[in-house]
């Protein structure tokens, strides 16, 4: 149905108020209604279970899946746009001076909403596909994403 004839049929129906009374379509036979689900059950038995066997089997995720936050430390300018926009307050920037700062990420608070990826103008921070992080001690998850201490050549450690 192309857009023009959709618009045309909408105009036509405008008079009738585009409303339809819900009716049962086609009166199934009385006897069949006793065993109505039987064909469905037989079809399901033939098709077999439709459950995913994770964690015993693999689970394929779409590439757009929003998992834990990752960062490309070189691109990070420490501008804290992501920190300001994070709805769950899961990012924190500790800054001593212009180029001595640390960006800390608290995965236990993170809501995996992807706002940091949207807000970052330099494309430094992004969400990976990793979601299997489970621990009884949430504070152990806290990671320092970027640690810059002024010396340009020093390799920033992102543990």
């Amino acid at each position: 149905m192309s857009r023009s004839d959709a618009r045309q049929s909408v105009a036509e129906q405008e008079k009738s108020g585009r409303v339809r009374e819900a009716q049962v379509s086609g009166e199934g036979s009385a006897l069949r209604s006793f065993f109505y689900l039987l064909p469905g059950v037989l079809r399901t038995l033939r098709n077999g279970p439709s459950t995913v066997s994770f964690p015993f089997g693999p689970l394929e995720l779409p590439k757009s899946f929003r998992g834990r936050v990752e960062i490309d430390a070189d691109k990070c300018r420490g501008c804290s746009l992501c920190v300001r926009d994070c709805p769950a307050f899961a990012l924190e920037l500790r800054r001593e001076s212009r180029d001595v700062f640390q960006l800390i990420y608290y995965p236990d608070r993170c809501a995996y909403c992807g706002q940091c990826e949207l807000s970052c103008n330099f494309g430094a921070i992004r969400l990976s596909n990793d979601f299997t992080e489970g621990t009884s001690d949430p504070s152990s998850l806290t990671t320092v994403l970027v640690s810059r201490n002024g010396k340009e050549n020093e390799e920033p450690s992102s543990s």
Partner: protein, 360 residues
């Protein structure tokens, strides 16, 4: 007969969210019921006063676990009208696409819950198996099965390339086949009809007095649906019908919701076929000017209304949310009056309660 009080909730196998009904029962008949809300009240309107517009998009998405996209859509429309932004047509179409997909997912989830509370585990399993098709479509589109984080102020952050579009149209055909099968089961299955017909009756007059919205109102004869009554893109250009029924019992609501799911599948197909090209969002400033805005959308359970008042700063002065479940909760004492105790579970799941929505 002795009158006893049966507590349903806050924790009960029947309820998937904490809410408390105290039923006053004599023999098998429910005489009266007292409702207690607030178990999942998170004070979202209070929290919104301490967050910026951008952060509230994700806060508002957590109002309801099932219809999160509708809340962000309504909120973003309110803020966009406050800021005077014009969302490009492609963005509006993609928003509506996800709204309809979410309606299908919400109705199929509800059909499963109703069947489970009726003791019909097979229909519960089939409904939730077929719902996986919609969830996979939404996950491929937005990265999240239920919480999509697709809406940003000024449009949407995702886009659909040609190959994804073809794949979604194919899956939609597969989904339509399953939805039609579910429709036939609901229409002809004898035991399902026996358990839902004639109980939980809400007369059209009561529906009008309690200002009921959504499928519950449509099943009681009120011909109202914001997608048609409030002409806005893209629904003004899409061909669909509002389904009503006038019996007003759980069976009428079941039929209305199932036929609405079929309508939503057709709507999704039309949106995918007529997707205009162009940008999907416009850049939004961080501050909103002084002023107020009210927006309404047709959520799976009915009319959602948002009121936003900006005071020129980065965060709104007031955000008011009214979700549709609140209107059906008021009518429950009416529906539960002199219903058999065994039917309480069917009546409660017939109105598709979303307590997280109601409590906010």
């Amino acid at each position: 007969m002795r009158r006893i009080t049966i507590p349903i909730g806050p924790q009960h196998p029947l309820l998937k969210e904490p809410v408390s009904f105290l039923l006053d029962v004599e023999g098998e008949q429910v005489l009266d019921s007292v409702l207690r809300l607030g178990y999942v009240h998170r004070g979202i309107e209070r929290l919104a006063q301490e967050r910026s517009y951008v952060q509230i998009v994700h806060l508002v998405e957590r109002v309801c676990g099932i219809c999160s996209h509708v809340h962000t859509t309504t909120y973003c429309k309110a803020v966009e009208s406050l800021m005077g932004l014009e969302v490009p047509e492609r963005g509006v179409y993609l928003r509506a696409l996800l709204c309809e997909l979410e309606r299908i997912h919400s109705h199929m989830l509800w059909l499963g819950v109703l069947a489970m509370n009726m003791g019909f585990d097979t229909v519960f399993m089939y409904a939730w198996r077929d719902r996986e098709i919609v969830l996979d479509m939404m996950e491929d589109l937005s990265g999240g099965r239920v919480s999509h984080a697709v809406n940003v102020i000024g449009g949407v952050r995702i886009d659909l390339d040609e190959e994804q579009r073809k794949d979604m149209l194919a899956r939609l055909a597969q989904l339509e086949q399953q939805v039609l099968r579910a429709k036939n089961v609901v229409e002809h299955e004898r035991s399902l009809r026996a358990r839902t017909e004639g109980i939980g009756i809400l007369t059209p007059e009561q529906a009008k007095q309690y200002c009921v919205v959504g499928p519950v109102a449509r099943a009681s004869g009120l011909d109202m649906d914001l997608r048609r009554d409030m002409p806005h893109l893209p629904y003004s250009e899409l061909d669909f019908e509002v389904i009503t029924h006038d019996a007003g019992d759980v069976w009428a609501r079941t039929l209305v919701r199932v036929l609405e799911t079929v309508e939503s599948v057709h709507l999704c197909r039309q949106i995918l076929e007529n997707l205009p090209d162009g940008p999907v969002s416009v850049r939004a400033k961080r501050r909103a000017p002084e002023g107020e805005a009210i927006t309404r959308t047709e959520a799976p359970r009915g009319e959602v209304i948002y009121y936003v008042r900006g005071d020129g700063s980065e965060s709104p002065a007031r955000l008011k949310i009214r979700t549709p479940t609140l209107t059906t909760l008021i009518t429950l004492p009416e529906q539960l009056r002199n219903v058999a105790v065994a039917d309480v579970s069917v009546v409660l799941s017939g109105v598709d309660l979303c307590i997280a929505c109601a409590d906010r």
